[in-house]
Amino acid sequence: MTALLGPPFLQHALLAGTAIAAAAGLVGYFLVLRAQVFTGDALSHVAFTGALAALAFGLDARVGLFAATIGIAVLMGALGRRGRADDVVIGSVFAWILGMGVFFLTLYTTTRSTANGAAGVTVLFGSIFGLSGAQAGVAAAVAVAVCLGMLLIARPLLFASVDEAVAAARGVPVRLLGYGFLVLVGACTAEATQAVGALLVLGLLAAPAGTAQRLTHRPFLALALSAGLAVAEMWAGLGLSYAIPHTPPSFAILAAAALVYAAVLVAGAVRDRRGRSRQHAVT
């Protein structure tokens, strides 16, 4: 049975990738709904710096990943109004943090005798085919925990995202939910960085969610669809990358995600044009 899934490295990638994609799909749906996609992008910069800082100090890169993304996510919630940081603050602070990442990269490659010269590239673009069985197991467990956390807070978070004041009057802990969500975003970003890399995390968070929101207006169906699409795109990407030589998995996964989103956009535009002949705006 396991032989059908190919060599061990592919099995590990499938195990971790499936769970990570599901988590990214669930988290991404709320990022798109709350117009916080930029938060996910900013946290991916933090992920890069966190991973390289950990390497530079001789720690496991994952320690730095999770500590940095979750810590900064909570900090953003505290600094920003209602857990939504200001655009200019994000822009300038996170460019600086990315610069720190470059500093740690130099520190790591020049001072550690055992340094992996490709560490920077690995963190930026992911290395899902390089996961050991134990790493894949931990990644999958954390991603499943993120999924469960998202499912637990999904309904009140939807209420708070759509209608904050009414939700607060109803007794929904709006601020606490915002923090909880940011922690899950941080953990999910750290996870997804291992799969597709810090630079490409945004695609996994935004594309399936955006596609799902264009396909249905039912919130919980869209949430399930977002997770399902992310998983399917992960499988398609891993399969393509395995079958076709010289195709990095990160590229294949995000190509699949972008292609599906583009197809849904075009299909929607064509349907709109047919439906209303006099229509001007095609969104």
Partner: protein, 306 residues
Amino acid sequence: MTPLTRLDDAVQPSAPPAWPSTGDPVVCLRGAAARVGGRTLWRDVDLSVAAGEFVAVLGPNGVGKSTLVKTILGLQPAAAGEVRVLGGRPGRANHRIGYLPQRRGFDATLRIRGVDVVRLGLDGDRWGIPLPGSARFARRRRAAEARVAEVIDLVGATGYAHRPIGQLSGGEQQRLLIAQALVRRPALLLLDEPLDSLDLPNQGAVAALLGHVAHAEGVSVMIVAHDVNPLLAYLDGVVYLAHGAAVTGTPDEVINGPALSRLYGSPVEVLCTSDGRLVVVGAPEPPAVHADRHADRPSGARDGSR
């Protein structure tokens, strides 16, 4: 509505207020005061709203109308006096209150159906996600869906409730939000400027809907409004806040020259146009009834809610 006029600090009403004889009032304030940021917004406010009454809270900008709503919700403690809501302290019975805060409307890109927004009013505060299947949950789900459909029909939104709410007009969104506030069969409905940003026909239609909710469904409705005119035909009572005090009574008792002159402490006239609309003239602050809230907002004066 208890006709009770608060005049000046020197002129305290000697007789105790005549509360409605039948049953407990839904909302009851006695000598209540509100203080925000060290500034007393209003004090010695007496008010009583019975079941099924439709009451408007009027007054100029920054006088504390939204703060009155928040005091009733228990979000803003009263600085003095007694406030009782649904027979208890404010905030205790919020599950029996439908609340519609002041808002700008939904973002045009929000891709969620109106019916889902209404449904959130029913069970949006429950953890987890609604699970499909499972016969045990099926009956409860059908009951919830029936209640949502019923309340959407009540507000006349059935025709567009399944479209994304961001693409609906302001009036359509407002009806769906009223449905959301009503879906749990509240005893009290609190609305903060729901007519703001609606065009005149929609203002009239929403006012008629709220009158129906109060008088036919027996829900007490309190509405913060800037312009009393769309509401006049349906109102049972008016609370007019100005100069740190309030006049309460029927619309005729409150919105007239002598009553408002006493409240403002300077001559105020209420004119009636040929089509029955009321215009307040001569109030020291910008005319509170029938005024645009943004064009003439006095510098420094801010709405109590912010």
